[in-house]
Every structure is written in C-alpha cells, then in structure tokens.
C-alpha cells in the first residue's frame, strides 16, 4: 500500500500537475459561486476540456481540483449572500450567513475552508485504509435502511423547533415534503400534482426553491430596511476580512471536525445518500451534543453550526468515492459524472482497479488529497478579498443578489417559468418570515422528500408492508435515533415551558 501511496505522490507532485490542480481549484471556486452550478454540473462541464490534456492522472487531478473548488464556491455564496445554490451547502447558510451579517464574513469563510479541508483530508485517509472493508458494509444497506437514514436526516428540523416553533417547523417540513411530490418520481412514473403545467412535469427545481426561499426575501428585507445587516457592511473592511480564529474557537470546533469527518465519511460511503444528508445530520447531531448555551447560538452564527455541515459534506463527498473505486458503483451524482470521465480515459473503476492499475488508483486518491491542500493554500489568501464583497454599497449589492439568484434558476433551463416560480416562492417566503415560520425545515423536507418516498416505497414493496421496521435491526436503530433526535428537544422545551 505504501508503495502505491508513494507512486501516487510522485505523480501528483510534479510542477505540471500542481499547476493544473491550482487552476482546477480556481475555476471550480469561481464557477461554483454561481447558484445553480454545483460540483456535479461544474465537473460535467469541465470533462470535455480536461480530456484534451491526454494524461489520465493530470486530467483527474484537474477534475479533483474543480470538484473541491466548486464545493468551496457553493459555501461562499451561502455564507455571503444566503444563496445556497446546492443542496449540500444549505446547512452552511444556517450559521454562515448570520456570522457574515455580524461582520464575521472572513472568519466564517476561514472556518468553512478549514472544516472542508479537514473533512476532505480525514476522508481521504479513511478512504486509503478502509475502502475495501467499507464497500462491503455499504452494500448491506437496503431501501429500509436508506429510508431510516433519511428520517434521521429529517430530524435536523429539531434544530429549528425551539422556542415555541415546534409546530411551525413541523408544518414547514410537511410543506417541503408535499412540494417534493410534485412531478414524476423514480418510483411512480406518472406526473403528480402538476395542475396541468408542463414545466412542473419534472418537478420543482431545487435551485428555484432554494433561491426563492433564501435569496429573494433577503434582498427584500435589505431593501426595506437600511439598517439591516449594516453592522456587517459598515465594519471596517479589515474587520470583515479578518481570518483570525482564536484558540478558544479552534478548541470548540476541533471535536466537531473530528466527529463529523468520520460520520460524514460513513454516510457518504453509502451509495445514494451523499453530502446533503451528511450535512443536515451533522448539523442536527452537533446541535444536540452542544451545551444548552451553545445550542441557543445555533442558527444565529454558531461556529460549531458552521463547521459541522462543512466538514460533513466534504467528508461525505470523499466517502462517495469508496463505492466508485472499489465496486464501480457511483455513490453520488458527481461520482456518476466522474465515472464517465474514467470511462472516457479507458479506466474501469471497480474491484480490479487497485490490483491491475495501482498507479491510477493511488494517483486518484493522492490527487484528491492534493486538491484539498491546493484549495486551502489558494483560497485562504483570497478570503479577505471575497469577504469584502459585503462592503459593496446596498444599491449595488441588492440587485446583484437578486440577479445571481435568478441567473442560477435560469441558466441551463432557459425557462422563464422557473423565474416566476422563484419569485412566487420568494413572496411566500417573505410572508412566512413575517409570521415567524422557520424556512430551513421546508427546504430540508423538499431536499429529502424524494429520497424519503422512494426508499419507503421500495422497502414497503419488498416487505409487502411496514414490518421491515422491526424486522431489520439497523432500520429500527436508526428510526429510534431519529425519534430521539426529534423528541428530546421537544420534551426539553415542553419541560422548560412548564417550569416557567
């Protein structure tokens, strides 16, 4: 194994490959900032360009750089303008954006970069040592377990269920699940709830809903209230762009990073779950583990609340390479696109890859590690400049926020209906915010809804009923965990209210 690692290192650390990795990270970061162009789209777009290079290792190093860059770029737009263009970075906005509003944009971006780097790096180490064993573990997961895992992911809504908002959070989750049933599902091929509108046949676009729920209301509130967010933008640019994390903060996020790297990686290993569930679950777990005072900070700019999803989604992205490299099964959308790149390069990922082409196997792993390092080295110096975007006067910033949100929904679809839907969701979101309804549960319900229904449906079909819940120990354990995640905060709140 160490020979293979050395071979991989030798390949990755040539001047040409280092330059391509840096270029990939830069391109990925810039394009990934545009809402709607997530890692999967960016990698897919870059494949034809990268294949022109010819050398498989260099091509894969460039793509790994693009991949990690795009993930970081997505986090940046989530943190700075509350515009999560991809499901995996929705949870990043929960605490990243409030931090930016408090004038801590630089710190938030630094924590995001360090958490992403740590999650990705620990993920690569786990990948190196445990890939074959984990691949066997992953195939033990059936629809029943996936359904239960999605349920645990949905329990993240408990994070927004505090202070008398339990029912509202639950209602928003149900609304998100209802919206997820619009259009065709992979289980039932007939379109549902489209009201005869052709554009809804393939369902509601994630970017349209996410931008409508988060970016449009933000632009509206910034427009009506000149003071809102002023603390963030009026601070001296040195303060906004300050990257420094003190020792206390570093100590606070270290255990979070350690836990979420392992948890995120394990979730990513299971085909089909990926970074989205990992990030929501990471957020929910860390909130439940936090002390009561720290828990109050979640959703208002908690560094733990930012570090958890950022670490988990990167570790899960790395974990999704396990089934691809060891079984030839793409575990996520991005790895499915990468599988296409492997095939175009005449490489067949699977059990034989490590034996027959060790130099390729290890150079892929080393290129992922290298992509992480380059991303950190390249982007940390850029953070102060990226953070200063918040110092832009509101008369420029607000139209640009709205424009980026709409461009995200329009690009690739060329469909004005998407924009009207986006604005419709935006107006609804403004009304919900006036009435103090939490919006993240709606998006969590929507993102996980399709997976929830598909896996529940398959599990029920296989078992011809719901007996799979008690017949499969892992399913039962996960469902009990989800129940605990939801019920404990509810009971705690109820007891607190009763004492008052």
């Amino acid at each position: 194994m160490f020979d293979g690692m050395l071979l991989g290192l030798e390949t990755a650390f040539t001047l040409q490959n280092m330059l391509f990795a840096a270029l990939g990270c830069f391109i990925g970061t810039i394009i990934g900032m545009l809402p709607g162009l997530g890692p999967m789209s960016v990698v897919a777009i870059m494949i034809p360009v990268s294949l022109q290079i010819g050398d498989p290792s260099t091509t894969l190093i460039l793509l790994a750089g693009v991949y990690y860059g795009a993930i970081f770029g997505g986090s940046t737009s989530s943190i700075l303008i509350n515009a999560p263009g991809e499901a995996a970075v929705v949870a990043t906005a929960f605490d990243g954006y409030p931090m930016a509003q408090k004038g801590q944009a630089g710190k938030a971006l630094t924590i995001a970069a360090i958490s992403s780097f740590s999650g990705g790096t620990i993920g690569v180490v786990l990948l190196m040592f445990f890939a074959p064993a984990l691949a066997n573990f992953a195939i033990l997961f059936w629809s029943a377990e996936y359904f239960a895992l999605v349920l645990v992911g949905l329990s993240a809504i408990s994070a927004f269920a505090g202070k008398g908002k339990v029912l509202k959070a639950l209602m928003m989750t149900l609304l998100g699940l209802m919206l997820a049933t619009v259009g065709e599902s992979s289980l039932f091929h007939a379109p549902r709830f489209t009201l005869g509108i052709m554009d809804l046949q393939s369902g509601i676009n994630f970017v349209t809903l996410a931008m409508g729920l988060f970016a449009v209301p933000e632009a509206f509130f910034l427009a009506i209230d000149k003071i809102r967010g002023k603390k963030g933008s009026s601070k001296k640019s040195q303060e906004i762009s300050n990257l420094r994390i003190n020792l206390k903060e570093a100590k606070a996020i270290m255990p979070v990073i350690a836990r979420q790297s392992v948890q995120g990686f394990l979730i990513g290993v299971m085909p089909g779950t990926g970074a989205t569930i990992a990030s929501f679950l990471g957020y929910a777990v860390e909130r439940n583990l936090a002390s009561p005072e720290e828990r109050e900070e979640f959703g208002k700019g908690s560094i733990k609340g930012l570090a958890a999803p950022e670490t988990a989604n990167n570790a899960a992205s790395t974990g999704s390479f396990v089934p691809l490299l060891t079984l030839g099964i793409p575990g996520s959308g991005t790895t499915a696109v990468l599988l296409g790149a492997f095939i175009a390069l005449n490489l067949q990922p699977g059990p034989q890859l490590m034996q027959d082409r060790p130099e390729v196997f290890w150079s892929i792993i080393m290129s992922m590690y290298f992509g992480n390092i380059v991303l950190l080295v390249l982007n940390l110096p850029l953070v102060p400049y990226i953070a200063r975007l918040l110092s832009i006067p509101r008369s420029f910033l607000i139209p640009f926020v709205l424009f980026f949100a709409m461009a995200g929904a329009y690009i690739g679809q060329n469909n004005a209906t998407e924009l009207l839907l986006l604005l419709g969701f935006g107006v609804l979101a403004i009304i919900f915010r006036f009435a103090d309804y939490p919006l993240p549960p709606l998006l969590i319900g929507f993102v996980l809804g399709q997976m929830f229904e598909d896996n529940l449906g398959r599990a029920m079909r296989n078992a011809n009923g719901i007996q799979f819940i008690w017949e499969r120990p892992m399913t039962l354990t996960l469902i009990i965990s989800a129940a605990i995640f939801i019920l404990v905060p509810l009971i705690r709140d109820w007891l607190t209210n009763k004492r008052k």
Partner: protein, 166 residues
C-alpha cells in the same frame, strides 16, 4: 381581527386541503390498486399531517413574546417590521420585486445582455444610486462577464440579444 400567524395557518390549511383533494382523487392505474404503496399513499399521509398541523396552528394560543433572532439592533425579528410600517421603505422593496418580475417576463424575448444590464441599472437607481458613471459601466460589464462565462466558456446557451435581432 385575524392576525398574520392565523391567516398563514388558514392559508396552509386551505393548501393542505386542496392537496388532500388531489391526493384522494388521484387517478390510479388498474394494477396500482393492488400495490402495497400507491402513487398517492405518501401524499395522503402528508395531507392528513398538514391538515392536523395547520389546524393545531390555527387554534393554538399565540404567544405574546416576539423572539428576536441574533443581534436585535441589527437583525430584528421579521415580524417587527409589520408593527412599525412607516419606519421602513416598503415602496423600494415592492418595486424591486416588481422589477424582478418584469425581468423574468422579458428575459427570453429581450435577451440576456440587454435585460440583465437594464435590471441592474434600474435596480441600482431604485435603491438610490445616483453615480451613473459607476453604475452603468459596472452593470454592463457584469452582464457581459456572466454571459461570456456561461455561454462562451461553459457552452450553456444564453440568448444575448432580443429575438428580432437575428
């Protein structure tokens, strides 16, 4: 008088009821009647959950305390805006949404470059920007850069000019 919380709960009840109607009347194919999970199984469960939840929100006593998220001096709770209507610039906010709607309606016919730069310029003017020598070049450059990146570099088609231009 019906407060906003209850009005929203009522709207959610109406939505859930409409959804329930569509779920119950969903046209099933003959073979689907014998399946353990039908296309309307989960929608029915969600609709029932939605009706129960929205009814509970409707009849639940409203708490008088208004939670303020984060730093109250900067990020006041959104509900606060409705208590002091005159203190905020509603016209700017609503006009911005109207402008965005006009942008959405005209983007295809007027083309990306013209429509986007007009939106950015008018949006800036609407929000009080009067430095035209700065606003116009920035808007034009930003529109062109995004179009160039998406259409020319990433090869995702974005019609740059109005349809009659071709």
């Amino acid at each position: 008088m019906l407060d906003l919380n209850r009005a929203v709960a009522l709207a959610l009840l109406a939505f859930s009821s409409g959804y329930a109607y569509l779920a119950f009347t969903f046209h099933l194919l003959p073979f689907e009647l014998f399946l353990s999970v039908r296309p309307n199984t989960m929608p029915i469960a969600l609709a029932v959950g939605g009706i129960i939840c929205s009814l509970a929100l409707l009849i639940k006593p409203q708490s008088s305390e208004n939670e303020t998220e984060g730093d109250g001096t900067v990020n006041r709770a959104d509900g606060e805006y409705l208590k002091n209507l005159q203190n905020y610039n509603w016209i700017q906010g609503i006009a911005l949404l109207v402008l965005a709607t006009l942008y959405a309606l005209n983007l295809r016919s007027l083309g990306f470059l013209f429509c986007t730069s007009t939106f950015l310029i008018l949006g800036g003017i609407l929000l009080g920007e009067r430095r035209y020598t700065l606003l116009i070049p920035i808007s034009l450059t930003a529109s062109f850069l995004v179009w160039y990146l998406v259409d020319q570099v990433l090869t995702i088609f974005l019609r740059p000019w109005p349809g009659w231009f071709y």
